[in-house]
Symmetry: C2
Subunit: 248 residues, 2 copies
């Protein structure tokens, strides 16, 4: 099979998993958890999983693989850089609104914030993401940033980008797990506990599996050097010509 | 600073984090959770975090970066391959014993197995690890395995290796989070709940942070192409010469 067909097979699988993750988390929050509001109630909390999964995982992962799409090659990189930055900014905004949803909910219910390991990992992922976005803008988009700095920081940007996605996935998995233990306690009305795997648990566990599968597809696309945008292949002199053109 | 010094700085940080993770999980299980036994009690469960963190994260991560140590370069690769396989086998055995500890504990207490998302992710990580180890042995160690197959499957082995580490970290974070909600409920004797962040919660949350930091150092070492064993750099003709020498 031609390499471009293999790439697009994986890329389309990533897009399909993106849609599946967003649909799954929306169905969980709306059908099983009662829907949405912004009034400090549990319905406000329901925005939290939807916005974190959509922003910190799905949009983030799609933004990360943008340069691998062959359609974006052989052209001026600047518009694609702007799209990468815009997708990541949207992902960051959704994540921050997702954090506001849970902080507001906790404050309205006098629940302490930031005590669980889930919250520590989630806040670390979002904080690193914010730093990464600002540093990325300053180093890779501002024309005054010197080429030597871009070459120096590109591997750090790539490594930090992958690490943030890993942290986001760990935060989502621990968050879904925690929420299911909170809400599926079982009672005398015949509601089943988490350990009896009622339909809601199967749906939310499956959401976790979809998130992990999506992350694996993103890492697969990122790890294949043949799918790197040609200007950033090591043998192409560390993308200097294009950066020179852009920084002029 | 010379590249080799930068490498060893990160490598030693990875080793220091390895020791910190193992010490931290042992202190948590022994000092705060009452120690160890193999009798179906909660003391048997205590082996579970110790063995999973030590096997599936610490030994696994150290096995993954072995080829990056410059000390192993410029020599026949076979002894280092055997050490890589041996470290990974030890990691796999510890992980499987760690799973036995929790299955036995559940069975003795009539608790269902494999219902939580934590357990789904953990069992997937261990199963993929077992498949990866057997496939690695068959493809990269058995002399009868053809060079074309090795070249074809090396990127898959590397991608799957990183994915398994990400899954392991997600499983550990969700497991520590879940355990703390189970055991730190607070009571009238003055025991503080998880949301009051008692010392045990700070210790176990810190264990989670150490695991994430260790994973990030491993990914940093793996992501730097300059630190790749020279025979596997793409410009060195996909490590064919050494594989030919080994398969003779």
């Amino acid at each position: 099979m031609r390499p471009i067909i293999i790439f697009y097979t994986w890329y389309l699988l990533g897009l399909a998993l993106s849609v599946a993750c967003v649909v799954c988390v929306c169905v969980w929050s709306s059908k099983w958890r009662g829907g949405f509001a912004w009034n400090g109630s549990g319905l406000q909390f329901n925005w939290h999983p939807v916005l974190m999964v959509t922003g910190l995982v799905v949009l983030y992962g799609n933004g990360a693989v943008l340069y691998r799409v062959p359609l974006t090659w052989g052209q001026n990189k600047l518009p694609w850089k702007l799209l990468h930055a815009a997708l990541m900014l949207l992902a960051l905004i959704l994540s921050i609104v997702g954090l506001c949803a849970v902080f507001d909910f906790h404050n309205a219910n006098k629940t302490p914030n930031l005590y669980s390991l889930h919250s520590w990992i989630g806040i670390a992922a979002t904080a690193l993401f914010a730093i990464q976005w600002v540093a990325g803008l300053a180093v890779f988009l501002l024309p005054c940033s010197p080429i030597s700095l871009r070459i120096l920081l590109k591997p750090v940007h790539v490594w930090m980008g992958g690490s943030i996605l890993s942290l986001s996935i760990a935060a989502c998995i621990s968050g879904i797990n925690e929420k299911l233990f909170f809400v599926l306690k079982g009672n005398t009305n015949g509601t089943l506990p988490y350990n009896a795997l009622p339909p809601e648990a199967v749906l939310a566990n499956s959401l976790g599996v979809l998130i992990v599968a999506f992350g694996m597809v993103v890492f697969l696309i990122l790890s294949n050097h043949k799918w790197q945008r040609p200007d950033s292949r090591p043998e192409d002199m560390a993308y200097t010509p294009l950066l020179q053109e852009e920084s002029e």
